[in-house]
């Protein structure tokens, strides 16, 4: 019983953080509440999950939920890993741009700067990379 209360409290907390604290798009909110609702049903009536699980080829509802959580966690991990790599590349583009601009500035102060038009195509290329 305590476990159910803990799980339901966790679902309420997630709903609060996802819905009240953040200004998400409606479709995300709806999807979130469908998932939370299904999770709440699974917590309150775990035995009701058994027929669904058996229909899907899993022995028990609890096992099915564990499998779904595993798949969900894998998806979330990959999603954030991809985001992490993207952000690293964007940082690299920004740091590179800063380094080149600073070097050009230093050189121009010494009167040895290159003409700006030569730099332009590469700046565009970097911008395209950042947008990818």
């Amino acid at each position: 019983m305590i476990a159910r209360i803990v799980f339901l409290a966790a679902l309420v907390a997630i709903g609060y953080l996802g819905f009240v604290r953040r200004n998400r798009l409606p479709v995300n909110i709806m999807l979130l509440f469908v998932v939370l609702g299904l999770a709440a049903v699974a917590v309150i009536f775990p035995e009701e999950m058994d027929p669904i699980a058996q229909y899907m080829g899993v022995t028990a509802g609890v096992d099915m939920i564990v499998y779904l959580v595993q798949v969900g966690l894998l998806f979330v991990s990959l999603h954030f890993y991809t985001k992490f790599v993207d952000h690293q590349r964007q940082i690299a583009v920004l740091v590179r741009e800063m380094a080149i601009l600073k070097a050009e500035l230093d050189q121009s102060r010494r009167g040895t700067a290159s003409p700006p038009p030569v730099l332009q195509p590469h700046a565009d290329q970097r911008a395209r990379d950042a947008a990818e």
Binding site: V85, Q88, R89, I91, A92, V95, R96, M98, A99, I100, K102, A103, E104, D106, Q107, S114, V118, L119, H122, Q125, R126, D129
Partner: protein, 222 residues
């Protein structure tokens, strides 16, 4: 023909304050243009490189050797370089090999230094075996058949540079670069070079265990 006026030597450096001044001076004294990319060093690398006369580009955070080289390459392209050389900051590469590397581009798009065609000074037999094994694996993965796949002494024409844009920030850029060269259809030539392994360069260099991380980066971070 003297290629010094159309060539930029790009040196990526991270915490190389002890050696970078000597390396830059050696290259500049031979008449080459030098761009040093200080990859967020915590020591006086940038100051020492600038004092030696190099153009210094400074990454405000450490991004890795691949990203640093790419920064130097883009700067050199912006400066109108027709030929670009990548050169190590730890004193492993010899200035005496620079003219042959750059001249090799007369008949090729990419010139790759090979310590197996040239020589090594101070390399342990273990390192030689490791390098041979790494080259065999790299040849299989990249499709480019080389005698030395991971020599950082490279030269290429500016016209091929857009096809060789590295996205791997860290050490996996070497394997990535070979893959890009293979796909680009560039004319490749290997040039004999001598690599000097000193106590300093061995201390700064890659440990064979880092090969595992490089393989991970190469496999998953494309």
């Amino acid at each position: 023909m003297d290629h010094r006026q159309i060539t930029w030597v790009v040196i990526a450096a991270y915490n190389e304050a002890a050696m970078i001044g000597r390396v830059v001076s050696g290259v500049l004294d031979d008449g080459w243009k030098v761009a040093v990319v200080d990859d967020g060093s915590r020591d006086d690398t940038a100051a020492n490189a600038a004092a030696a006369g190099a153009v210094v580009l400074r990454h405000v955070v450490n991004l890795g050797q691949g990203a640093a080289l790419q920064t130097g390459i883009e700067f050199a392209l912006g400066r109108g370089a027709e030929r670009i050389v990548t050169f190590d900051a730890d004193g492993q590469h010899r200035v005496e090999d620079l003219p042959a590397m750059v001249a090799a581009l007369d008949d090729a798009d990419v010139a790759l230094g090979s310590r197996h065609l040239g020589g090594t000074e101070g390399a342990s037999s273990g390192r030689k075996i490791f390098l041979r094994a790494a080259t065999a694996m790299s040849n299989k993965m990249s499709g480019v058949k080389l005698t030395d796949a991971h020599c950082g002494f490279r030269a290429f024409r500016a016209t091929i540079a857009p096809k060789l844009r590295m996205r791997q920030e860290r050490m996996a850029h070497a394997s990535e670069l070979l893959g890009l060269i293979g796909k680009s259809g560039a004319r490749i030539v290997e040039v004999p070079v001598t690599i000097r392994y000193t106590d300093y360069s061995k201390q700064k260099g890659q440990s064979p265990l880092q090969a595992i991380r490089i393989m991970f980066d190469h496999a998953f971070r494309r």
